[in-house]
Amino acid sequence: MRECRIEVVPGGPALVRGADVVADPDGAAHPVTRPVVAVCLCGLSQRQPWCDATHKVAEGS
């Protein structure tokens, strides 16, 4: 089995390497199509489960 690595960026998303599928908050499965994916941790992303940098807007307001 290959290793799945998760690195949490302080104030940002989780960078995930080695996963095949990530589930969104509703349980729907999203295939991983790039070498590293950023998974939303703040809950504000408009394209769950992926980070879309919305946390920066929230931070600034």
């Binding site: 960026v9 940002g12 998303p13 960078l15 199509t33 790039r34 070498p35 590293v36 994916v37 950023a38 394209r47 992926w50 980070c51 879309d52 940098a53 920066k56 807007v57």
Partner: protein, 332 residues
Amino acid sequence: MLLPSPRGTLGAALVSALRGDGPVPATGAHDDEDDLQLSLWVLYELHYRGFDDVPGTWEWDPELLRLRAALEAGFEAAIRERCAGLVTEAEEQAGEQDDVVTALRLIAEADVPALSSYLHRTATAEQYREFLMARSVYHLKESDPHSWAVPRLTGAPKAALAELQYDELGGGRPDRVHQQLFADALTEAGLDPAYGSYVDLTPAPVLAVNNAMSLFGLHRRLVGACVGHLAAFEMTSSLPCRRYAQGAERLELGPAVVRYFDEHVEADAVHEHLAARDICARLVDQQPALRADVLLGAAACVLLEADAARATLDAWEQGLSALRAPEQERVA
């Protein structure tokens, strides 16, 4: 691509020399910023895909390299002068937090003119096409200038840059190479997707954005600036790309245009962390002396892009084209 039209006496002499019609200019004396940036752009392009009307051997011609060095000396000095204030400001604000990631973030967050809000809500379809044409000079070779850094890095930052570039270059799928996504967007917007087709229309500040990337990429001593530039580019991309995508939807420019920017919302939300944390910070761990150049590259990305945006917005707000007029119209 054929050689572009020269914009002054230096460019005219250079283009003649590359066609075999005269000597390589002996000095870097140029008429104005347009003449300088176009000449530099031509000299750099010899190291990418070159010109169909220039033999490949010119790439390493000693006289051309001497001319390029003369132009680069002035260009690099101008960039350093332009960026010194923003770098100092970021360093001071970062203060106790000595990490390069904080300083990069402060530079990326600088309050500078940007096109994204205008393209999102205000631009006409014609203005949006002008934006795509000017951007095509870079996006049809997107990420290539930063690939020059690969052989200059070792260990962790090298692995991280390769990881980032693998995604930029399609992750093994030619149809997903970002350069190809942009070519698809041009085609769908009714524009020419051929490499270099809009160079003659591209204003000097946009060529300067491109030339800075080549300057940083082609000089091993500037590898810090090369990766710092990459980090700032990625850190200032995700949110604007969402606005570009929504602007393209508003103007009904087609799914390929929306898709290009939409891909970057998600991709660059990943890349910004790889670039800042895994490439820049790890490189500075290895070579602390490169920290200043990393921040210089980041500031150059932000400020040269802002200069180009300011010129574009000024033109649009006056109801003018942001592009240069084609040669025949300017002569007439």
